[in-house]
């Protein structure tokens, strides 16, 4: 239910950068979303389609780059992507690790025509 607020935030950032770039139109928006941040692509797309008519971003394509959770083993330093039900390090079998990826949540870039 909070994708509405997130989508408004995406639009705010996109409009800001599009105007600064002298854009006539925004054609593509690239988002980076970590697996640990709780946002759903389809829902963002839904609100995006609802919010963008008659804006510079109308008709723009949203691209989602999903970043998987990545642990760094505290025992041996190996980085690995944990399986849904197995958090053991593939090198030393220690359980879990520090989360080094998966929390990303940002607008990476936009493509504009000017």
């Amino acid at each position: 239910m909070h994708e509405m607020a997130v989508t408004e935030d995406i639009l705010r950032i996109v409009k800001d950068h599009a105007e600064r770039g002298g854009a006539k139109k925004v054609t593509d928006i690239h988002l980076v979303i970590g697996e640990l941040s709780s946002f759903i692509d389809d829902s963002i797309q839904f609100y995006f389609d609802l919010l963008t008519p008659n804006t510079i971003a109308e008709g723009a394509s949203l691209h989602f780059e999903r970043i998987r959770i990545r642990f760094r083993c505290r025992k041996c330093g190996q980085e690995f992507e944990p399986d849904g039900q197995d958090w053991h390090c593939p090198s030393c079998q220690a359980l879990g690790g520090d989360v080094v990826a998966g929390k990303e949540f940002y607008v990476e870039s936009i493509e504009i025509t000017s």
Binding site: H2, L36, F105, V107
Partner: protein, 223 residues
């Protein structure tokens, strides 16, 4: 190819989302600090026993002035329960939103006598996912999980167990009847968050409530 064809180019942005919420959360934090009030954001699934633990806390935490913010999608039920104890309480109804956010807290604290309080316990909307993404301006995050929910929750909802400062396992009186393996649960939580304390409580029997109160008192700086 016409001469007036539009020029396309890619503009790097790299700007984080939800920073507007974080700015308000930072303001809230300043306000809480100025009144020397510690704020605890309590997150759990619906039915994990958040309000029951709050009621037990109000009864047991003598000598500290406590306020409560209740977050629910709808209804005053929880705030009414807390109000019977004489504790200052504000109910936030999110009207559908699955989490509290910093502007909601900023608004709610206007109805609390911060200058007369030592701590505020915020009961977030029952949900293991969304509340984690929204800073409220709290000092500490507390995650509750009840025994019936199962010990495998860290696999399914890692973000909350990574974000909290304390995990409280509630309804421990049900352990003999269910398959919740406390040791496995501890191992998984510590896999994500190696230094985090885990307290096992039952508001029914009183088990562990003393440990929870001791943790709170330690964080209040008078332990």
């Amino acid at each position: 190819m016409s001469d007036n064809q539009a020029i396309s180019n890619r503009v790097p942005v790299v700007e984080r989302l939800l920073t507007a919420n974080e700015e308000v959360a930072a303001d809230n934090r300043v306000q809480f600090r100025s009144h020397d009030v510690k704020v605890f954001n309590i997150m759990a699934s619906p039915g994990a026993g958040k309000t029951t633990l709050l009621m037990a806390t109000i009864a047991a935490l003598a000598g500290h002035r406590l306020g409560v913010i209740e977050g629910d999608v709808a209804s005053q039920i929880d705030a009414d329960k807390i109000a019977t104890t004489g504790t200052p309480v504000v109910q936030i109804n999110t009207g559908g939103a699955c989490h509290l956010d910093a502007p909601m807290i900023r608004h709610a604290v206007q109805a609390l006598p911060l200058e007369d309080l030592d701590l505020v316990l915020v009961e977030n909307v029952g949900n293991l996912i969304c509340p984690v993404s929204f800073d409220l301006g709290q000092d500490f995050n507390v995650g509750l999980i009840s025994v019936p929910e199962g010990h495998d929750k860290p696999y399914k909802y890692p973000a909350i167990f990574e974000a909290v400062d304390l995990v409280v396992v509630t309804k421990s009186d049900l352990l003999p009847y269910l398959d919740f393996e406390v040791d496995t649960f501890r191992e998984l939580v510590h896999g994500l968050n190696p230094t985090i304390p885990i307290i096992v409580v039952s508001a029914k029997t009183g088990e562990g409530i003393g440990d929870w109160i001791a943790w709170l008192e330690d964080k209040l700086g008078r332990g």
